[in-house]
């Protein structure tokens, strides 16, 4: 059938296609086109213009489909997209040497994504065709993006409203996860990492999401917590050696201490920045984060500078050490948990213990946030985010309100830092660079300011997926950046941006909303 595009639009279509090709070419030619390869005696440039050409061709085809759909040519899109999808999937599934030539990229995952994208186009345009009841026409779909945005708004409202159930299901899933068949040490490690970032996201959410204080230096509290912990927990710490102690203090004693130290650091940061707001506050907090890192780097007598503090033991359990005796001479006179229970030492068991410790800590953070929103101090935080002048005219002390927000946010960052230290068994300043703050903030922003479940989703997207797809090497960072751009275009206020009232007067939901925020 003939492609019928109004003559007036033809020039626009050409410009659109040309522009797309140009943008994709410009983006890919330097990133993908030149590949630096290590060879013996130096490096060499590997030119990959076939890949660049494939990317440009794919972009043109996909853009073409979009244009055709905009002009109502659903049948062409359905047929061609389905053909491409089938071709790709067949090549992927039954690909021998001969069929492999149909695949544009070397990375399998890219092929799969392309196949899914084509299939999506085929299904989408078929659905659209069926709905409109006519295969061709000049229908404009201007309302569609709004519809989609409204849909996502409804989804996030529903998610927040049913947070109790979603939270319970997520919790059960998290509780049985380590014992699921097929869960190996690698997945457990990723889960522990994701949970750490969920906890950090929830902690930062108190400062940024609830109190509305943009903090770009959250990693400082993470670092303070990690070092406060390490200095007392590790038998190698300079502080313990100065004190003449030969054994580190237990995890469960160091944890609250580290939280307290981080909270103090939070209040200490809070004082000078009380009068600052928005961008200015962000810049000062950014500087504070760097100050802490540089201090850790240079205060050699206390922190061992760039060498870091090693030999931090894992959490003890019911008073028993959970370390393996083999690598720990100083623990000769202690009893390990696995010996007490008559088990063999297994690294996986230690990871499962870590998993449950961070799960409990993250849940405690969440529980705190959900409850505090209903207390005067939490309400004051939220009111402060909305309007500081109105707050003062209602008798809220903005100084105390800001300081408590900084303090509590920092405290949870400190707890997470302690966990980080015990998990890594080693801390050094290079773990606490600005990029960590940026990632934590990205989790909060992408999830939707103040949304607890949003943080979970975003932490999974930002931390979990890149770890799972580690074999994709640098492509994963491309996806990372791309998905962040897409989310911000599509949901500028965050994936699940929806503020649920702390209390409802009418309707049966009054009870549900008093539960966990998930």
């Amino acid at each position: 059938m003939a492609v019928n595009i109004p003559p007036a639009d033809r020039k626009g279509v050409l410009i659109e296609l040309g522009g797309t090709a140009l943008v994709v070419f410009a983006l890919t030619v330097s990133l993908v086109g030149f590949h630096i390869k290590d060879i013996s005696g130096g490096i060499t440039l590997d030119l990959r213009f076939v890949d660049v050409a494939s990317a440009v061709a794919i972009a043109i085809v996909v853009r073409g489909w979009l244009i055709l759909m905009r002009h109502g040519h659903y049948r062409i899109v359905t047929v061609s997209a389905a053909a491409v999808a089938v071709l790709l999937i067949v090549s992927l599934l039954f690909g021998g040497a001969g069929v492999q030539t149909w695949l544009p990229f070397k990375a399998k995952l890219l092929q799969w994504l392309l196949a899914i994208l084509s299939a999506g186009f085929a299904v989408g345009s078929a659905v659209r065709m069926a709905r409109e009841g006519r295969p061709a026409g000049s229908a404009q779909d201007g309302a569609v993006p709004d519809e989609q945005a409204a849909l996502m708004d409804r989804v996030s409202a529903q998610v927040q409203r049913n947070a109790l159930w979603i939270g319970a299901i997520l919790f059960l899933a998290a509780a049985v996860f380590p014992f699921m068949p097929g869960v190996n040490l690698q997945y457990l490690d990723i889960a522990v990492l994701v949970l750490t970032y969920i906890m950090l996201g929830w902690g930062l959410n108190i400062v940024v999401g609830l109190a509305g204080l943009l903090d770009l230096g959250y990693v400082a509290f993470y670092a303070v917590g990690a070092y406060s912990f390490a200095l007392f927990a590790s038998p190698d710490s300079p502080l313990l050696q100065d004190l003449g102690w030969t054994e580190g203090v237990s995890f469960w004693l160091c944890l609250p201490f580290a939280g307290l130290m981080a909270a103090l650091a939070g209040v200490a940061l809070g004082f000078p920045v009380l009068r600052l707001r928005g961008d200015y506050l962000a810049i000062v907090t950014l500087g504070f984060g760097e100050m802490i890192r540089v201090t850790l780097l240079n205060f050699y007598s206390l922190t061992k500078g760039p060498d870091g503090i090693s030999n931090i033991p894992p959490p003890s359990l019911l008073g028993y050490s959970t370390q393996s005796k083999m690598d720990e001479e100083t623990l000769e006179n202690t009893t390990e948990f696995h010996t007490a229970m008559g088990w063999e030492f297994d690294q996986a068991d230690t990871t499962i213990l870590l998993y449950f410790v961070i799960l409990a800590m993250a849940l405690a953070t969440n529980f705190f946030t959900v409850r505090v929103r209903k207390l005067p101090v939490g309400r004051a935080w939220e009111a402060l985010r909305e309007d500081e002048i109105a707050c003062r005219s209602l008798g809220i002390n903005p100084t105390n309100t800001k300081l408590t927000a900084f303090g509590f946010g920092a405290m949870f960052g400190g707890f997470a830092g302690s966990f980080f230290a015990t998990r890594q068994t080693f801390v050094s300043p290079e773990s606490f660079t600005f990029i960590e703050s940026a990632v934590i903030l990205a989790i909060v922003v992408l999830g939707g300011f103040g949304s607890q479940i949003g943080v979970v989703v975003a932490a999974f997207l930002l931390i979990g997926l890149p770890e799972i797809f580690r074999e994709l090497q640098e492509y994963r960072m491309l996806f990372f950046g791309g998905s962040m751009v897409l989310i911000m275009l599509w949901r500028p206020a965050g994936l699940l941006a929806h503020r649920e009232p702390t209390i409802r007067m009418h309707g049966r939901r009054a009870r549900a909303s008093t539960g966990s925020g998930g």
């Binding site: 109105a390 209602l394 008798g395 002390n397």
Partner: protein, 245 residues
């Protein structure tokens, strides 16, 4: 106190107050007295310094000279939240409700300084004064109409059980019907024992409602008297009542 000796129970005493924005002087020695149980209004043109005066009473900006006392206690240099905790409440200019919070949450925040045991009763009282707020209790503040937002701002201020209520242009941008309704409620609030200090551009309504009034121009009080006197005053009529309405 001399005022008490004169048989007048002065609650808010503003004397010789001067306020600057940077080097620009907004208030030039303002004297105002608000007695217990009164409705006192301050009228004047745009930019006369009316809102500045209310904000100065609340401590932001601070008075550069002069003295402000509330029930005999000097509040000139107290922090805003401390002044509010002394029993003064303000429905600020531009309403400044919390747009993303529900009506009920807004009212809860109004009760920040209050005693928890009065909360339910006070909430009912505000809902009785403004029945529309009861229907909108679970709605976000930002989704209310202008009039409803003004009612919410006043209701929120009342939640702290103030002895003195400061209202900054409650009629601003509202339909005449709504203005009438709001002024009726202000009279009701006053009947229930709350002293009201009302800053208004809508001189006619304000002066009809008020026991006494002050007229401000260029940061100075140029006239004062009872509401009826000012309504009858030729100068006031020329400047604020005719033409503008």
């Amino acid at each position: 106190m001399t005022e008490a000796a004169a048989g007048r129970d002065v609650m808010l005493d503003i004397s010789g107050v001067e306020t600057f924005y940077g080097r620009i002087q907004a208030l030039r020695g303002v004297d105002i007295e608000v007695c217990r149980g009164e409705i006192v209004t301050l009228i004047g043109a745009n930019g006369a310094g009316k809102s500045t005066l209310l904000m100065t009473v609340c401590g932001d900006p601070r008075a550069a000279a002069g003295r402000i006392t509330l029930d005999g206690v000097d509040i000139t240099y107290k922090a805003t939240f401390e002044i509010v905790r002394m029993g003064l409440a303000q429905a600020p200019e531009g309403r400044r409700i919390f747009p993303r919070m529900t009506v009920r949450e807004n009212l809860q925040l109004g009760a920040t300084t209050g005693d928890e045991e009065y909360f339910d009763g006070d909430l009912e009282r505000v809902y009785d004064l403004f029945p529309i707020l009861r229907n909108r209790a679970d709605q976000r503040g930002g989704t209310l109409s202008g009039g409803e937002q003004q009612m919410l701002a006043i209701g929120r201020a009342l939640m702290s059980r103030p002895r003195l209520l400061l209202l900054d242009e409650p009629s601003l941008g509202l339909a005449p019907m709504i203005v009438k309704q709001i002024f009726e409620v202000v009279a009701e609030i006053n009947d229930a024992g709350t002293t009201v200090f009302l800053v208004e551009q809508n001189a006619y309504h304000a002066l009809r409602l008020a026991d006494r009034g002050y007229v401000m121009a260029n940061g100075r009080i140029i006239l004062s008297g009872t509401g009826e006197e000012l309504l009858a005053n030729a100068e006031v009529r020329a400047a604020y009542l005719e033409g503008g309405h």
